[in-house]
Symmetry: C2
Subunit: 242 residues, 2 copies
Amino acid sequence: MSDDVAPKKAWQLVVDWIEQRILSGEFAVGSHLPAERDLAQRVGVSRPAVREAVRTLQANGVLQSAVGAGATGGTTISGVPHQALTRLLRLHVALANFPTPDVTEVRVALERLSTRLASTRATDADLARMRDLLEVMDDDGLTMAEFNNHDTGLHVAIAEAAGNRLASDLTIAIRESMRLPILAGLDALPDWISTRDILRAQHHGIVAAITAHETEAAVALIEEHIRSAYARMTSLHADAGG
Amino acid sequence: MSDDVAPKKAWQLVVDWIEQRILSGEFAVGSHLPAERDLAQRVGVSRPAVREAVRTLQANGVLQSAVGAGATGGTTISGVPHQALTRLLRLHVALANFPTPDVTEVRVALERLSTRLASTRATDADLARMRDLLEVMDDDGLTMAEFNNHDTGLHVAIAEAAGNRLASDLTIAIRESMRLPILAGLDALPDWISTRDILRAQHHGIVAAITAHETEAAVALIEEHIRSAYARMTSLHADAGG
DNA sequence: CACATCTTAATGGTAAGACCATTACTCCCC
DNA sequence: GGGGAGTAATGGTCTTACCATTAAGATGTG
């Protein structure tokens, strides 16, 4: 009976209206949506409902908005999913909806894929970027937090050298979602300096294997790198028993 | 200079307020947020701004709202990321922000992981569910769309047997994001019947290997299954040249 | 005719206020 | 103790008004 079907919320009608046109191909990246006032009239809801719908799809990385008349103003379809992915995963990791052992397993699988692809596809610019990051991380003056940022940057650089958009975005999103937990895990270590030295050596090995197109070696090294780092950070394992 | 820093939008202030408390651990799954009116006052914005912020985090699968007084009403922290993930990926696949060859590679990596985990962790109930789906799919009377739904259901069942929340949710989200493109690809095939028979045989092999804990066999079979299906659906490759 | 300036309009951003439907809680009566 | 009525809390929705930004159009000047 229709009693079981709750009437759709006004903002949901707008979301559906927009999604339908995305799925049908009518809206593509760069397409301009009707103005909020026009869309409200067209769908038969109020302008705040349109705004709530826009916010929903903005959170999905699908829409972006700007004030002003002409081509720069209004709401357009966006082609930038990675920030939305990153935010989503970071929040759910923080809420422990994804336990860190699970995240680590997935990281291994995805970074194996990214590293495999990067070892055959990385450009000279990609490789130079990795080497720059290695050099920065070899500076003994870095704080742990700074080192972690560059460490993340190296993983991001490898992912971006993969030439696979989804693999890159997912790899980046998952690594970023673990930034704070990893930093906390490093902070709890008895000996940061020796850990840092091990991480550095591993980074060098990975980049060397990628540079030499030694695909299987690179893949094995990235996996070993992630697993051994995780194993060291015993504070991250607290989730596992939960 | 501060000229370069745009003032934060009112709804962004609320999103930040909520995110900060999630990241700090103050809010956990099940936590109740202050009422919209209270939150508006506390953050110093209007209630519509709060609603827009709630919509943002709802789209990230982080919040859910209900009308009414008492424990059932209000806005609470949610622990259900998979729908948000699925929606996000589906929209971006539809917008061609993730080309289908990229998606297929990532599917292979993730379904290898899910299948590996499932072959050691699947319960009797998980296996029975897979066998039920095999049996349903062996019915010659199914339409292509119905078969595709159950095919998706099998991939979902394997992913859920993995016992790794993130792997499951990502595998499911990615498979679901490809549901319509796969259906279109199947529709364009010259001989659906022979394809269906091949898919069925492959499904049986995968489930048998999982059941027998033949991990490496199961992993190889799921990869072959995905790759060969993708290779058959030439209409999906149109993206590759884009 | 080209350029500069001003005016106007379009657009998203924001807030206040009013009202509605749902839900639970409290109080009163039997 | 149970049932019913009243009240309050909550999200849901809409209307109205205003603001800041941006571009387009109109007007004036050289």
